[in-house]
Symmetry: C2
Subunit: 412 residues, 2 copies
Amino acid sequence: MSLIVQKYGGTSVGDVERIKNVAQRVLATRDEGNQVVVVVSAMAGATDHLIGLARQISTVPDAREMDMLLASGEQVSVALLAMALHELGCTAVSMTGPQAGIFTDASHTRARISRIATERVMDRLGNGHVVIIAGFQGRSETDEITTLGRGGSDTSAVAIAAALKADCCEIYTDVDGVYTADPRLVPEARKLNAISHDEMLELASLGAKVLQSRAVEFAKKYSVPLVVRSSFNTAPGTWIVKETDQMEDVVVRGVSLDKNQAKITFLHVPDRPGVAATIFKHLADQTINVDMIVQNISEQGKTDVSFTVPADDLERSLRVSREIAGLVGAADVSANSDIAKLSAVGVGMRTHTGIAAKMFGILSEAQVNIAMISTSEIKISCVIPKHQADQALRLVHNGFGLGAGENPAAEN
Amino acid sequence: MSLIVQKYGGTSVGDVERIKNVAQRVLATRDEGNQVVVVVSAMAGATDHLIGLARQISTVPDAREMDMLLASGEQVSVALLAMALHELGCTAVSMTGPQAGIFTDASHTRARISRIATERVMDRLGNGHVVIIAGFQGRSETDEITTLGRGGSDTSAVAIAAALKADCCEIYTDVDGVYTADPRLVPEARKLNAISHDEMLELASLGAKVLQSRAVEFAKKYSVPLVVRSSFNTAPGTWIVKETDQMEDVVVRGVSLDKNQAKITFLHVPDRPGVAATIFKHLADQTINVDMIVQNISEQGKTDVSFTVPADDLERSLRVSREIAGLVGAADVSANSDIAKLSAVGVGMRTHTGIAAKMFGILSEAQVNIAMISTSEIKISCVIPKHQADQALRLVHNGFGLGAGENPAAEN
């Protein structure tokens, strides 16, 4: 008998019919002789509706009260799923995050799980129940309701799987799994059978929103076997696994594109120590989330400093940057929102050379100008003009042999 | 400094604007130098929406899961009200029923409050917070979420007021207070300044849905000063008070009408011991809620037994009754849904005689036929034809001097 943790996202429980479908799926898993714990998000739209109500009352609602408010969403979906299982003759019980013993720190709206008291869940599992747990939420040591931040249900599921020493954690979502690229942009993109934790982390942080990064980190840390599958079909999905030697045979696992970026440049900044520190300290003080940073070479004691920010933050970032420009003696500040970040990810880059050169070559051949470059051990990112981004993504994807019939790591 | 518990119903917090109005009211009460605890229902419509979802999944949803589901409703309204108070610069904190220490028995969907652990609420009050508590809900001793049944927020408020030894409990609703009769039916009806607990209990059970009966019982038992007021104006409302000698000067405090009744009659039942017991035991076994019962005098060893049931239950009751008719040897079973129950209530009946006769006289003069009669110490109820009910209500109301300019207990 295996113990399986299944997590269903908001779209998968978006209406009564879908909740009934999830119940069928959960029952089928149990009928195969498994113990099942189900982690559920709020019904699609519910959280946005609640946030909308809060915003009508307060522009900056209190974090503790936001947690109180938002945690109601999963309480609805877990209860409805329990009822749907009862209708199928399956013993099942729902629990809020606090009831399930999910303890967190006290950082409201972005709490981190500190420990999980599994007695109550184990007790019910032992009595033959399917246990349905509200994702995204927990309780602090002082019995306050906390939430883990958007997408936190993935983290809940993996953490619960780790605490229960589950045999695997299945994340059900509205996509089939992880692809070599976004199939809406790259028709040749193929679903991966497996991807390493680090590759998944790079892709998640690059905007492939299949899995929350913290969930992947948890799975890596506690060696939780993790699979991403569609809740609308029975395709096998993508396993997120420990890195193996064979994985390095494939240099690029996938490519991703983030169009929600904008670039700000400080022009002709005096090139002396402390300038960059001043700029980015002030930006951080204003909680502006800076991604890539590039400083060009100095000419006549002056240099240009460029960085990217989320496009939604451009206006605010620009306002703050103009203030900073005075402090550091920059001649001017310019902005460009016609950019996109194109990235290639693969653990094979660790052992293979020339990957960056190959990527630059593909872009150059297509007359795509690279504005910024950033690399990690297993990733290369290039900032390019947004209007060329879709074409460039497809060229790089196919250039690295990720298309149909060429990719040994993908399904045939 | 007084400690005041205020309760706002679903209509009073039905949308964002109304929540803001409630916040203003709460703040005004605090600014007068009081400590304030606020008990809130779910936003109007929220509970019905949740029940609708559950019904789409299950015709008889599990009671525990219903509680899990429905308790989410107040969690939303308390959080939003806390945010609205923060916007006004007022320190405030929301609590679920479980967080506020409201312990109940384990009877899901109709739990009874067993004890209230007040430490957390008192602590926050002591720190200068307005404490906002989710009504209608509590927790069992095994940390399950329970609810008190529809309208249970009134009971929550009074129980919390009793536990905190509050100076008074104010129930805010969408009516101005308790009237001598339903003003929609009787234009001469007047608002009462005060009414005794027992009178209020009789009126509540007779369909004047201003206050939940259990809340009134609680207020009586623990001597909680209780007032019903409108949340939409500043009129003083109606106090529900301990009975005083002067109250008996008014023989009839108010009249009420219940049109949601139907009558079933067992015809020509053998008049022997055990027949009534058999009939009403079988009805009770089917959880049919029987109200008035009348057995006519025996003729030739046969009698007729009539009783009333809620009109919504008529069809089912009739089906069950036909089965019972065979068991007890009744000739036939008849039904009549053209009935209404007209009642007059007043503690003065204890000391005054001839009240029943006067009521029958008023009805007789108006050619209203009385089908059934039932009396208690402080109440007379008559079942009359529904099509004459509105007219009869007004005649009885005015006949007992409850109209304008005539009633010393009502406002001028």
